[in-house]
Symmetry: C2
Amino acid sequence: MAQIRLALAQLNVTVGDIAGNAEAIQRWAQHAADRGAHVVAFPEMALTGYPVEDLALRSSFVEASRAAIEELAAKLAAAGLGHLVVICGYLDRDESTFAHGAGPKGSPQNAAAVLHRGQVVARAVKHHLPNYGVFDEFRYFVPGDTLQILTVHGVDIALVICEDLWQEGGPVRAARAAGAGLLLTINASPYERAKDDERLNLVTRRAREAMCPLAYVNTVGGQDELVFDGDSLVVDEVGKVLTRAPQFTEGLLTVDLDLATTTHGADEYAGIRVERTVVSDTPVPAYTATRSGVAPRLEEEAEIYTAVVTGLRDYVHKNGYHSVALGLSGGIDSALAATIACDALGPENVYAISNPSKYSTDHSKDDAADLAERTGLNYRVIPIEPIVSTFLDNVPLTGVAEENLQARIRGMIWMGIANQEGHLVIATGNKSELAVGYSTMYGDAVGAFAPLKDLPKTKVWALARWRNQAALDLGETPPIPENSITKEPSAELRPGQLDIDSLPPYDLLDQMLEDYVEEDAGAGDLIAAGFDPDLVERVIRMVDAAEFKRRQYPPGPKISFKAFGRDRRLPITNGWREATMQGHHPVAPPRTAPPGEGPRT
Amino acid sequence: MAQIRLALAQLNVTVGDIAGNAEAIQRWAQHAADRGAHVVAFPEMALTGYPVEDLALRSSFVEASRAAIEELAAKLAAAGLGHLVVICGYLDRDESTFAHGAGPKGSPQNAAAVLHRGQVVARAVKHHLPNYGVFDEFRYFVPGDTLQILTVHGVDIALVICEDLWQEGGPVRAARAAGAGLLLTINASPYERAKDDERLNLVTRRAREAMCPLAYVNTVGGQDELVFDGDSLVVDEVGKVLTRAPQFTEGLLTVDLDLATTTHGADEYAGIRVERTVVSDTPVPAYTATRSGVAPRLEEEAEIYTAVVTGLRDYVHKNGYHSVALGLSGGIDSALAATIACDALGPENVYAISNPSKYSTDHSKDDAADLAERTGLNYRVIPIEPIVSTFLDNVPLTGVAEENLQARIRGMIWMGIANQEGHLVIATGNKSELAVGYSTMYGDAVGAFAPLKDLPKTKVWALARWRNQAALDLGETPPIPENSITKEPSAELRPGQLDIDSLPPYDLLDQMLEDYVEEDAGAGDLIAAGFDPDLVERVIRMVDAAEFKRRQYPPGPKISFKAFGRDRRLPITNGWREATMQGHHPVAPPRTAPPGEGPRT
C-alpha cells in the first residue's frame, strides 16, 4: 500500500473564459499544494467551461484551449508547483492519423490533461458521449478508445470522464482489468432533484466494480440553464464514503488515501487499450493521515432553493450584471422570485416594480409593499391605468387582447426601467403556467432569466413556506407575506378573475403534468391512472399548443429531468393528438395559445 | 432486363398528424395506381412528418405510427390498391431481443415499410443517423444494420434512407455487392442554397458506385424552420438524369425503367446483412415506355424567394392560421416581408400597420402607403406619438431606453391587433441585423415567424430587385417602391438616425458575417483576409453578445448552412473572446446587447 494526499477542486468556471478559468485553476492548484496534496483534480472541461456547445466547432477556440493547457503547465511550474500532479479537463482535438468513424480527422474531443513539471505528460479522452437530455456531446466530440493509467508515487490511477462512469462496461471495467489502485473521474454533471442520492449509488457501485477507491470531482455553479451542484466525493473500494464536499459551494476537498501499489494488470480490455504513464513509482515516505469530513446533504426544499439561487446569481454575474428588475404583483410567484433574487444578489440589487391596474385588489398592492418592507429591496409603484387608457383610445382592443395589453404594458415598463438603469429583468412564471401556456408573450414573459421556470406551482408554495420557516428558525423576519402564500391565485386582468376559471386546481394539474411532461405518459395512461378523460384532453391540448410560448420564454435553472428549454425539443407545428382523444383536427388543431398570440384563456 | 413503372410521391406532410398524412399517402397511392405505376415511394417518415424531435420519445406516438402503418396497408388493399407496392417512411422501434449499443431495447427507429396486399411485407431501417446542423437523429434513433432488397417483378430494389446515401460506404456499397437492379432512397432532406446541385452530384456518384439506376424521393414544404425543396429525381447507372421533379411543389413523378433482373449477389457486406423479400419475381409483360420530363431548376434568387414563401405559407397554414399582421415602415425589410406574405397567403390575408412616430420621415410614410397600393394588402396607419408621450409622462426614459420604447409600443400594437383579429404577427428582421443584435427585443422582434431571418441584408435587396423584375417580366406592377430599395437604411428612432451610424456598410458587414458565422473563421482569419482589425473586433464582439436576442427571436425559414436557430447553439454566458483581440474581460465581457436589454447601439 502507498499513501497519497488527493485534492479535488470543486470549481465554478465560466464557459469560454479560458484565461479566467486558467487563472482560477492555478489559484486552486496553489491551495492544493499549500495543503500538501500530491495530486489535484479539476472538473471536466474546467479550462473551457462546460458545456461549450457550438464553440467546439470553432477551430480558433479548440486551438486556444490546446495552447492554454500547455501554457498552464508552464505557469504552474514557474510558480513552483511543478511537483504537483494536476489533472484538468479541457477541449482537445483528435490527432489520429486516420479519420475517426464518428467525425472527420481533427474532430474535437472532451479530454483530461495531466500536468507535471511544466509539461502535459498524459491525456485521457472521454469514451461515452452522452446525447440525451441536456447533453449533445455526440454532436460535438469524437470518443476516446484508450484508458489512461497514471502511476503517481507507486499508485496506478485510472482516469475517466463523467459519462464513462454512468455507462455500463467500458473504461470502468478496463480500470479493474488493468489493476488500478484508484479510479479518478472528473465531471461536469448537472444538478437534478435528488441527483446526489443517485450519484452516490452510482459511485458506490462503480467502486465495487473497479475493486478500488473512487474519487469523483464535479463542477459547481450556474451556466445558462444548467446548475452544477458539486457534491464531489471519495469512496473506498466497497463504496464507503470517505469524504464528501458541500453542495453548491466552491472549494477544495482533500483526503489522505492508502492505496494498492502498481500491479501491472491487463494492457487491453474489450477493445480498450490501456496506456500507462509513470510520473513517479516511488511511494511517499509514511506520514500521519488526517481525517476528512463528510458534509451533510441539504433537505429537498433547501437543495432546490439553493440550486435556484445559485443559477440566478451566476447567470446575472457571469453576464456582467449586478442587479435585477422584476414586477411585484402581490402573488406568490413574484414574491418567491423577489426573495430568491434578494438571497442571490442582496436586496439592494433587486428593483421591484408594482404596476396596479383598475383590476388589482387592495390586498395585492398591500402584499407587494409588505414584501418590499420585509426584504428591504428597492420598491416603486407605477399604476398602468393612464397608459392602458391612452393605448385603448388609439387601438381599440377587447377581451383577451385587452388582458394581454395590460401584461404587455407592465413588461414594457420593466424593460424600460431595466434598460435605463442597467438591470436584468427576471420573469416570474412557474413550470405549471409555462406547461399550459398561461402567460402573456412580451408581457409577464419578458426577461433575461426565469428563476421559477422549472418549479411546478405546488413546489413554489412549498419553497415559500420553507423559506419563511428557515427565516423563523434563524430568528429573522419571514420574507414572504403569509397572505401571498395562502390566497387564491389570480392574474387580475379582469374583474374577479381566478386561475381556477381557466385551469384545474394546481395540485391536480401538477400531478397530471408530472405524468405527461416528466414521464412522457400518454393520454391513455393518465386516464388509466384515474384522471378525468375530459380534463386529460383539455390539459394535453393546452400543453401541446404552448410549445411556441415555451420556446420564447427566458431560460431558467434546470431542476428536474424534463425542464422546458434546451433539453425538450418539440415541433411547433405539431399535428399530434393522443389517439384516445376526441375531436381530432388533422392539420390545424385548435390552439388555446397559438404562436404569435399570448392569451390567458 | 425487366420493366418497372416507378412513381415518386413528393409530399408535403405535417409533423405529428399521422391520420392526415395517412390520408394523403392513400390519395397519392391512388394517383400512382391510376398512372399505372408498379411501385410508389413516399418520403422518409412521410407517415409522421419529419423531424418529429421529442415526439420520438413518447411511446404512445411511436405505437400510433406502428399501428397506422399496418392500418394503411389494410386500407390500401380495401381501396383496391393491394397490387401496388407502396414504400413509405414511418417511425418504428427496435424489436431486437437484446438492447442495442446505441440505445435501450425498444428504442425508436427511422424506418421504411413495404406495403403489399394489405400487409407490411418488409421494412428497412436507416443506418446513418445524422447529428449535425439541423439533425439530431442520434439523439432519438438507434441505427439499422441490415440492407433490405425487395424483389418486385423480377427486379431487386435496394432500400436506403436519406443519410445512408450521403455517407461513404455502408448500405450503398452493400447494394452493389448484393447486385441490386435499382437503388431507391427515401428522404427528408431540407433545402439549403444550391443544395439541388450538391444533391445531383451525390446521386450521380452513388448511382455509379451502386452500378445501377438510383431513384430519390424527397419531402416538400415547410415544417417550422425547415423548408424541403422536393427535387425528387431518377438517374441511370452512369448518373444521367432520367426525370426530375420541380422544386417546392407537391406532386407525383413517374418514370418507366428498364432494369437488370435478380442476380442473387452477396448476402453480407462489411457487417451489413442483406435481407431479401420477394414480392414478385415475374417481370411484367413488355409495354411501351413513356418518357418523363426533367423540370428546369430555379435561378438562385427565384429559388431562395420560393423557399421563403413556402416556409411562411406552410408555417401559417399548418398552425391553423390564414392571415398575418406586420408593421410596415417604408424600409426595405418590411417591404420585402409584406410582398412575400402577399405571395404566400394572398394580399387579402396580409394586414400591414404603419406606426409613424415624430422621427418618421415623410418618405417612409409615403413608401409604406405606396407598397400597400401596389400589392393590395390591408393597410392602416396608427401614429404612436400619443402612447409614447403618455408612457414617458409616467415612466421617464431617455436615450436607448426611449428608442426601444418606440419599437416596443409598435410591437404591442401589432400583437394587440393580431390577438383581436386572429392573425399571426410576422417579424421582418434580416440575418445581418440578427447577427449583430441590431433590433429591439419585444419591439420589432415580436412575432410567430420571421421570413427574412436567414437572409443577409444584401440578399434582401437582391430579392427585392428580383421580385420587381419578375413582375415587370410578367407585365405586372412591381410590388416594392423603388425608393424602399434605394434609400439609406434607418431605424428612425431618433432624429437623422442611420444604420451606418452603428454598423459598417452592409456589403462589408455581410462579407464578414459570411466568414465568421457561416465558415466559423476566427478573428485572425478575418484580419488575414484583409478586414480592418478594429472592425473585426467590433463586429465579433457584437455577434457574440447577441446570442440571447437571437434565441428569443421568432423562428424563420432556413436558407443557409448556418441559420440562427435550432442548428446553432452558442452559450448565452460566453466568456470567449478571440485570442487576437484586445481588451479581454475574463468574466463579464462588455455587451453591446446584453440579455434582457434590447438597445440599438
